[in-house]
């Protein structure tokens, strides 16, 4: 299908392009930006006046689990509605992604829905038990872009070192959330709020001890490691030093940790029960600074759909996590505006930079995903930068309705509204269609 996106503000973070232009799309690819050939006859024209035309978002952490049957459909529809055209799914699905057949099936089902590209992380160990390695070569052939334990611990440092050695043998990346198992058992970040509320704490050292261990093993093994969901100022500093040393590490932060602190727990609001836990203001400030200066490469939704019953529990018993796919763009824009960054720089953290984190694992797609280039794939998000909205359960397509940014919880005003999402040149979402549907 030939599509013309007319007269939008085309922002491509990777090239720095920021200009009003037309974008012509044919056969799933961008054929022209700006000078559209005179003989280009679109079958559909999208009027993008007043809108930004940006690369589709690339979310490095979105869970599709725990949402029951039909979950994939609703969560990929949520991705499309959020302008997300590629997402990385951690392996803690049920069952975990530790066999190529499971990965094949997931990729196949996602392709059939054609809403969003899905890139699974394979389980680093069988059943995510943290003991025996998975068949990483087979899993990679099935489509895994890296290997992870998700939230599950590795049995011991010997196993972790071997897993990293084996992965690096084949050039695979290992994605780890730095949290020491024994220190990470609490339900809120250690600090004044947890002390006052009588909630068990997760101290900062739970993150820094794990980071020290991982960084030391990277130094030893040379493994490419992506550090998931940093939560503390001290953690950001360790990653900054590791990068300065030239170690092959990258990192991300969640929309929740970027915008909230433990004070937002208020009177035991279980929407604020998150992993990693919300920390203090100085941690949030360091995470924001780290994302701005590139110490943290990517902003992720950490999308985790949680059922109603699993949040209607006392804080400590509530299941951690929040919905996020449909909030990622707005919260990236909100951060960018508050940090007074150019639009392209804020968008880079959810487009070109996550693609750089994925690197060669994307194959040829890595050449153009997260970017707007002639000849590249037409994964595009068209959004109204000036539109504001508030999150309510009814505005979300995801089955997960719980988020700290819910209007009733926080009253947060969300800048930016997605109008159209194209995946491989096909409309995966259109606000106008959604309104009339």
């Amino acid at each position: 299908m030939k599509i013309l996106i007319r007269n939008g503000r085309v922002v491509d973070p990777a090239s720095g392009r920021d200009e009003t232009a037309d974008v012509a799309i044919a056969a799933g690819r961008i054929v022209a930006i700006g000078r559209v050939p005179a003989d280009f006859t679109p079958e559909r024209t999208i009027a993008a006046d007043g809108c930004v035309v940006a690369p589709g978002l690339v979310d490095l952490a979105a869970r599709l689990k725990e949402a029951g049957a039909g979950a994939l459909e609703s969560e990929l529809a949520a991705a499309a509605a959020g302008g997300v055209t590629s997402l990385v799914c951690p392996p803690d699905t049920d069952p975990p992604l530790d066999e190529p057949g499971l990965v094949d099936m997931l990729k196949f089902r996602a392709r059939k829905l054609s809403r969003c590209r899905l890139f699974p992380l394979g389980a680093l160990t069988r059943h995510l038990d943290g003991e025996e390695l998975t068949e990483m070569v087979d899993l990679t052939e099935a489509g895994c872009v890296g290997f992870s334990q998700a939230e599950r611990p590795v049995k011991d440092n010997l196993t972790l070192m071997r897993a990293m050695q084996y992965a690096s043998t084949h050039g695979y990346a290992v994605w780890l959330r730095p949290q020491d198992r024994s220190l990470g058992g609490g339900v809120a970040a250690s600090g004044a709020v947890a002390t006052r509320l009588g909630l068990s704490g997760v101290p900062v050292v739970a993150e820094t001890i794990a980071l020290h261990t991982i960084i030391e093993l990277v130094r030893q093994t040379g493994t490419r490691v992506h550090l998931c969901r940093l939560s503390s100022a001290a953690g950001v500093e360790l990653v900054r030093r590791a990068k300065a040393e030239g170690l092959p590490v990258t990192a991300d932060v969640s929309i929740n940790s970027l915008h909230l602190t433990d004070v937002d727990i208020g009177y035991f609001n279980s929407d604020m029960r998150l992993t990693p836990p919300l920390r203090q203001g100085k941690d949030r400030d360091a995470l924001r600074a780290g994302l701005a200066d590139g110490t943290i490469d990517a902003l992720v939704s950490d999308h985790t759909p949680i059922g109603e019953d699993d949040k209607m529990l006392p804080f400590g018993e509530a299941v951690p996590g929040a919905t996020g796919l449909e909030l990622l763009l707005s919260l990236a824009l909100k951060w960018g505006a508050e940090a007074k960054l150019p639009l392209a720089q804020a968008l880079a953290r959810v487009t070109s930079e996550p693609v750089r984190v994925l690197g060669e694992s994307l194959g040829s797609l890595g050449q153009s995903a997260g970017r707007l280039v002639e000849g590249g794939v037409a994964d595009i998000c068209v959004f109204d930068l000036e539109a504001e909205w508030q999150v309510t359960a009814g505005t979300l397509r995801s089955r997960g309705k719980h988020t700290p940014f819910d209007a009733a919880s926080s009253g947060t005003r969300m800048p930016g509204r997605v109008r159209h999402t194209l995946v491989a040149g096909t409309l995966a979402y259109s606000a106008a269609d959604a309104a009339t549907a």
Binding site: R196, F268, M312, P314, G411
Partner: protein, 320 residues
């Protein structure tokens, strides 16, 4: 983020639930203590009843066992002429897999007027208060490590009874503060009522430096901790803390932090010794102190009934 109203207060600033001492104004604490004073005499009468809660149903919901606390609430409610229903939920619905809010919905349908809740999770009474019918009042009878407000209030009643005023006191709280809801409620109450020096005393595993965030002076030496104190509040050492990684043994704990007559000699000569009970003799407190002239542990129990009557009668008089 929105600043939200304290869920314990209605739009007029009146108490509709008692969930925590934190955030309650001094006037409400004083009102409860003053009201408790008027109920003390009821407890001395031949007919120990007043009709303030006649026709009302008070449900004691104990998701965690505590015969003693439940009994004091039961006595208080009965002296106010309420109908009291005791539910030992630790042994019934929860073990059948019913969710907390389903249990609450079912009991609300039985026309409860007040829930007295004990739960092992911090914040559970907030969840119940948020989801119960608007006319139902919730009293927190202890939630996780978070709060035990009626214990805090009866401790304040006891201190005021013996010390008259709070303004020049030094109060030392000794023991497992990090896991103690009693300590948290006491600290908030003492702070609100104007006590200038509150000390938290114990080993670093039980009294971590984070507690300074609550406005207390942290002491790891017992004699320094009780020096010139007007009030010494001893906390019960739970069995599970007496060995393992928190403490090596009960004996070694007693050696460092047990309250003996020798240690108590460092406090003011007229110091009072309190304990929320039940006491572990020879673990946190020596029998000669527990039974000695400074001990007000039994009067605390008596005052506890009057304070719980005061809380229930005040709540019953306020609408959401």
């Amino acid at each position: 983020m929105l600043a939200r109203r304290n869920p314990q207060l209605n739009a007029h600033g009146e108490l509709i639930h008692l969930l925590s001492i934190e955030g309650l104004p001094r006037a409400i604490l004083t009102q409860i203590l003053d009201t408790a004073g008027t109920f003390l005499s009821v407890n001395d009468r031949d007919v120990k009843k007043v009709p303030l809660l006649r026709g009302k149903s008070v449900f004691n919901l104990f998701f965690e066992n505590s015969t003693r606390t439940r009994t004091t609430f039961e006595i208080a409610a009965k002296r106010l002429s309420a109908d009291v229903i005791n539910l030992d939920i630790a042994k019934s619905s929860a073990s059948k897999g019913e969710s907390l809010l389903d249990t609450i919905a079912n009991l609300s349908a039985m026309h409860a007027d007040m829930f007295v809740v004990r739960h092992s999770e911090s914040g559970a009474p907030y969840l119940i208060a948020k989801h119960c019918a608007p006319h139902v009042h919730v009293v927190n009878a202890g939630d996780g490590r978070h709060a035990h407000p009626t214990q805090g209030l009866l401790d304040m009643y006891t201190i005021r009874h013996y010390k008259k005023s709070f303004n020049e006191l030094t109060v030392s709280i000794v023991g497992d503060i990090v896991h103690s809801r009693v300590a948290r409620s006491d600290i908030h109450a003492l702070t609100t009522l104007g006590v200038p020096e509150i000390r938290a005393v114990g080993p670093k595993t039980l009294v971590p430096g984070d507690l300074r965030d609550m406005g207390v002076r942290v002491c790891h030496d017992m004699k320094e901790g009780v020096k010139d104190a007007d009030v010494v509040i001893m906390l019960r050492l739970q069995n599970e803390r007496m060995s393992g990684a928190m403490l090596p043994s009960a004996g070694e704990y007693f050696k460092s932090y047990g309250l003996t007559e020798d240690v108590l000699a460092h406090a003011k000569p007229d110091a009072i010794v309190m304990h929320p009970g039940p006491i572990n003799r020879g673990v946190e407190i020596d029998s000669r102190v527990a039974d000695g002239a400074h001990s007000v542990i039994l009067p605390q129990v008596t005052f506890g009934i009057a304070v719980r009557m005061a809380v229930m009668s005040i709540l019953a008089g306020n609408d959401a």
